[in-house]
Symmetry: C2
Subunit: 413 residues, 2 copies
Amino acid sequence: MISIDEAQSRILERTWTKGAVRVPTSRAVGAALAAGVASDVDSPPHDKSLLDGYAIVSADVRGGAVELRVIAEIAAGVVPQCEVRSGSAAQIMTGAPLPRGADAVVMLEHTTRLEYPDAPRIRVDVDRVAAGDGIMRRGTSIQRGTCVLNAGHVVRPIDVGLLCEVGHTQVDVTGPVHVAVLATGNELVPAEQIPGAGMIRNSNGPMLRALARDLLCQVTDLGICGDEIGALQRSIRRGLGNDVLLLSGGVSAGVLDLVPKVLEDLGVERVFHKVHLKPGKPLWFGVCHAGSSRTLVFGLPGNPVGCLVCFELFVGPALRKLRGLGTVTPAIRSATLADGYCHRSDRPTYVPAVASHLEDHRLVAVPLAWAGSADQRAVGAANCLVLFPAGERVFAAGDQVPLLLLGPIPPAG
Amino acid sequence: MISIDEAQSRILERTWTKGAVRVPTSRAVGAALAAGVASDVDSPPHDKSLLDGYAIVSADVRGGAVELRVIAEIAAGVVPQCEVRSGSAAQIMTGAPLPRGADAVVMLEHTTRLEYPDAPRIRVDVDRVAAGDGIMRRGTSIQRGTCVLNAGHVVRPIDVGLLCEVGHTQVDVTGPVHVAVLATGNELVPAEQIPGAGMIRNSNGPMLRALARDLLCQVTDLGICGDEIGALQRSIRRGLGNDVLLLSGGVSAGVLDLVPKVLEDLGVERVFHKVHLKPGKPLWFGVCHAGSSRTLVFGLPGNPVGCLVCFELFVGPALRKLRGLGTVTPAIRSATLADGYCHRSDRPTYVPAVASHLEDHRLVAVPLAWAGSADQRAVGAANCLVLFPAGERVFAAGDQVPLLLLGPIPPAG
């Protein structure tokens, strides 16, 4: 049996990163840019006004109230035809191009409008205006050709505006990753049904699909397959065209645990079977090569908490690497145990727990009452998994333990 | 001009929470449950084996190797017909129902299979088996009727398995929230086009749509509208059927800043105009009542960074409240400035910055070079906004500042 770290390494060694695909920027959120993005424009594209006010010659304002003749009104979106000379001013709106001759904009609130019979004039009510005041020069923010977001950057909603400003309504991102999900076991009925005697609903299939979709994968549902070699072969073959095939169940030591044998018969090369871990020990992992394409195949435990733990520790990192993300293994944080805890297990054990923030953003954790790998209820109440080492040990309140986050952490209180 | 806190309060006072809608559980991820979810089954539904092994009468094993006759083989998904009595055992698979008479399961690895001519037998190789070993009693994890997830719980991918196990392939969630987005300004061209002289691309529209979609809202794109009263009236009317209407541009002091007037002419009740904030001062907020339905109307600044800051501070909280989420205002963290920083402004100012984690998970922040509200490039490089107070002040390295997160924080390196 190999360790958690060794299993992660063997999986990631065999995981590639997908090529680039062009998508509308609006659908690129969450994806990694496959190439840097360069601007096709200067920003701003012209010397522009930062204010609603008057474009003037700054040298005209030198102490005392100066009066200027208003020669034009310039809105955003027009090309000013006028030229501002000493003694004149052009009314200008925020964002509008600066007219020739002007070298500053004085804000509306610092002027008084004077209506003369012949032409409107303003009085400037401040003592001094410096060249450059109230204006932003062409290209101050971005110069044409500049790279504004690097390859590997994961597109956030807030980046969509910048990408559109610089002319990229489509971008090249890494992906997509195709994942197929197959639940196995004679005892399973579709989650929509009421299970008969001895039966349970298929919950791993929907959970695995939700986890993979949350990591922005394209998911194919292969449904449920009973513990029968021919049927398993047919279902598994359908999954081998994907980047990743996730199976649940059929990987333990039981008479009907046929999944490893069927996978190996279909030419899936076994990399390892069983990990020194609780829950999640029965994990099977292999790779199927078909021409130039490969499929990573995970035989996950049928017990739902073991299935979840294996997804978090092993499948998630592979999916993130396929998607070109920089950090692929889950973040392990350190937390303080709120109370004492007795732990005994022959393997490192992930126990569902509730973590909350102390005021200084350190974490405190409370392991939940938990009946083991089949007890999915504890998962609904948990926001993390606390890792206890193999062996028997009494932990005291205040001891530090590593934890793996499963969801948002509330503030303590 | 009102403060940021006052503006948030006035908005949230006027924001309701949407009713319930039934959705497939696979599409409920991210949504708040509108009602608690009760189980329609016991879990496990029967006394079940936790192991691959043999179901036995525990009293048969009392020191020394005991031999037992194997009377049946029980797989998961079947109802056992046999009864285990003293001296006999039934082979059983993980998850399978315990047969009558048996009160423990001994694991396969703790037995030796003996093939006799008449019938298979096993030898139990451990000294003691306690009643209850290797089995999980019916209802240990969940009893029928128990609430497994409370109203208000935000569904995570890891909850989908639990929801399916307890018979909820559909759930009632709060929402959906309908948001319409309209960009205004004569200077705007669609982001797909190359802007002519004096023009810029519409970047606020796509950014606002991405931000609202990221908060799982249903978004309608109303496109771009020029600064013309009739056209604005028509476009705005189309938006008033939604829960929220987001406008960008046209809310400053310019001659063509027509949005507040058009909104009020259309019967949108003004709640406030302008916030003591930089960037984002021109924000206009109002409510439109039409029969029993209401629309929250945000007139956001046209400058992209002001538009973003107003979304984060004011629109996001309203959308989260509409969606029934527990925490609606953005988390404000405290960070240490990495270097000295000179700040001067007449208003509290949010400056794009890069935050990273120290090893103890405290945050350190570096404000970015930034040319102000129109400089969207800094947003692409930032993962947070640092808040500096109004006034003039020289901050020293090590000073604490509040910050608002915009994206994931990398570990310090």
